[in-house]
Symmetry: none
Subunit: 317 residues, 2 copies
């Protein structure tokens, strides 16, 4: 006999046992007594009810939908980790919710006893996340910046958050005292070969986990708004097919880094290897969608924190 073929009365009994268990809240012992069978049989009845799909559980909470979407994201894009937070339909904030979730995820990593190397990108979302981070003492960990922290005018780049996080978690921090984008490829090489910088770059390659934002390349591209690139450079990136930027480096819609242009001068560390590190992007909203899609296609990341609406669009596409 190929099919399991369960008889009707058997399923009836299973349903009854399942009812007594799940609805009436009996223990298997009690069910056994009431149905006049052994506890083991009662257990079998209950598990039969489950395996035959008689028992359906539903969670009456918006969160349930989010978890479901997260699971789908992981499946579909081969992510190791995904988190979807509820969308607040009214809000236009690009950080609401995801920042909290990112802070929570960071905390989970930081709670580890064994030392980790935490790579940190840049951006508004990340800054918001770190502001939400609860202070926690983790002297065992190291936190390393993936981007330079010097703005074009020589001031500290505002959305470079390495100091903020280091302060919050009392870990040793490794900032990258460089401009985000050097003036020429040669300057970048020169800077990268400095004794102060090299160990930071090496450390960033060893990151256990990295949190990065995804920047769009629209008219309001953070790289442009914050003055790291000129309007002409922004247009050139778009012309070349660029749709997003991670730690300053521009990618096309397939997540392939653009050749030339500002990419030749980006002084940031490379995104850590997805084989050895968790690279978690924090991004939501329609403006970031092409960027997220690119990052997923190009396997630039293996973790994503986003919101419901964004997740739905990603899965629909």
């Amino acid at each position: 006999m190929s099919k399991p073929e369960v008889t009707t009365t058997r399923l009836d009994d299973a349903a009854r046992a399942g009812w007594l268990y799940y609805v009436a809240g009996n223990t298997q012992d009690e069910i056994a007594a009431k149905l006049g069978i052994s506890r083991q049989s009662a257990q079998r009845m209950v598990s039969l009810a489950v395996s035959e799909g008689l028992v359906k559980v539903r969670l009456d909470h918006p969160i349930a939908r989010c978890l479901d979407l997260a699971e789908q994201l992981k499946q579909r894009f081969g992510l190791k980790m995904a988190e979807v937070v509820p969308t607040d339909p009214g809000s236009t904030s690009t950080t609401l919710g995801v920042a909290d979730a990112a802070a929570a995820e960071m905390t989970r990593w930081l709670k580890s006893e064994t030392p980790i190397v935490l790579g940190i990108g840049t951006g508004r979302t990340l800054k918001a996340a770190i502001e939400l981070l609860s202070p926690i003492e983790c002297p065992q960990h190291k936190v390393v910046s993936l981007t330079g922290n010097i703005a074009p005018d020589g001031s500290a780049a505002f959305y470079n958050v390495i100091f903020n996080i280091a302060d919050k978690i009392k870990a040793r921090s490794f900032p990258m005292p460089l401009p985000v984008i050097a003036s020429s490829p040669e300057e970048r090489e020169l800077l990268h070969s400095q004794a102060m910088i090299r160990p930071v770059l090496e450390l960033s390659a060893q990151a256990t986990v990295a949190f990065v934002g995804i920047g769009d390349l629209s008219e309001e591209a953070p790289l442009f708004i914050d003055g790291f690139i000129s309007r002409e450079e922004l247009l050139a990136l778009r012309q070349a097919g660029g749709v997003c930027e991670i730690v300053g480096r521009a990618f096309d819609r397939n997540g392939v880094p653009l050749k030339g242009l500002t990419n030749d001068r980006v002084a940031s560390a490379h995104i850590p290897s997805r084989d050895t590190a968790m690279v978690i992007a924090i991004a939501k909203g329609p403006k970031k969608l092409p960027g997220i899609e690119a990052a997923l296609k190009g396997s630039l990341i293996n973790g994503l924190i986003t919101d419901e609406a964004t997740a739905e669009t990603l899965l629909a596409g």
Copy 2:
């Protein structure tokens, strides 16, 4: 609301834990690890999710015996609708199972696109049912109370559930700001002629469907326990042949309303006409048997939700 009042984020966490447990099939240990909390807390979260009613279990199996009994009930007593849930032999609860079924039946009605008028009685069973009701937005419907909601001491009658249900389903609600039993027939007339009350009474007569409980008139009669009638009044009702009470109005064993006594002063609306409305009683257990029999004999109802044991006794008698 005198409820414990659990904050949103706490419920969110509970939902998350519940999802991981029931949907994703994690053990509590795994949940604890994933959420970065202790196993005990994970357990608490899961049980919170259950106790807050976030987790709904449904059994997708018509237990043959119950269906059979339901069919027989419909045939024998000319009901339009009957539902029989399994009996838990050991339990003394008067709501277990039937409340779930009632909630499911309500949901079925509420899902209707076309606006309905939902009449709601009172009582423990009904309250339990409404607590199990999943929140569902139905602004198209109206829900009207069939009984007054003022207790003898002036407080809100505890088992009047119009507000609970209105809150759950986001429908316009029509409570009846009256005492359940007026001090005299004259007072009742006066109250009923009020401009605030009349529309409610008229609406209740137009109900599409009404859910009512059946109260017994034993020493533990809810009317008496909750202080709506005195012991003397209770005894008088029994003396006069009363066996049950629906929306406060007492009936004899044939389902004929008693003349005089407290019935002259009951301020409740009449049970909607069985010709135009579904009137569904929710009741089980030996104590309610005479009441259910009376309601069936007097054709006070055309729908019944009860349990196996009660159904069997009804059919045997």
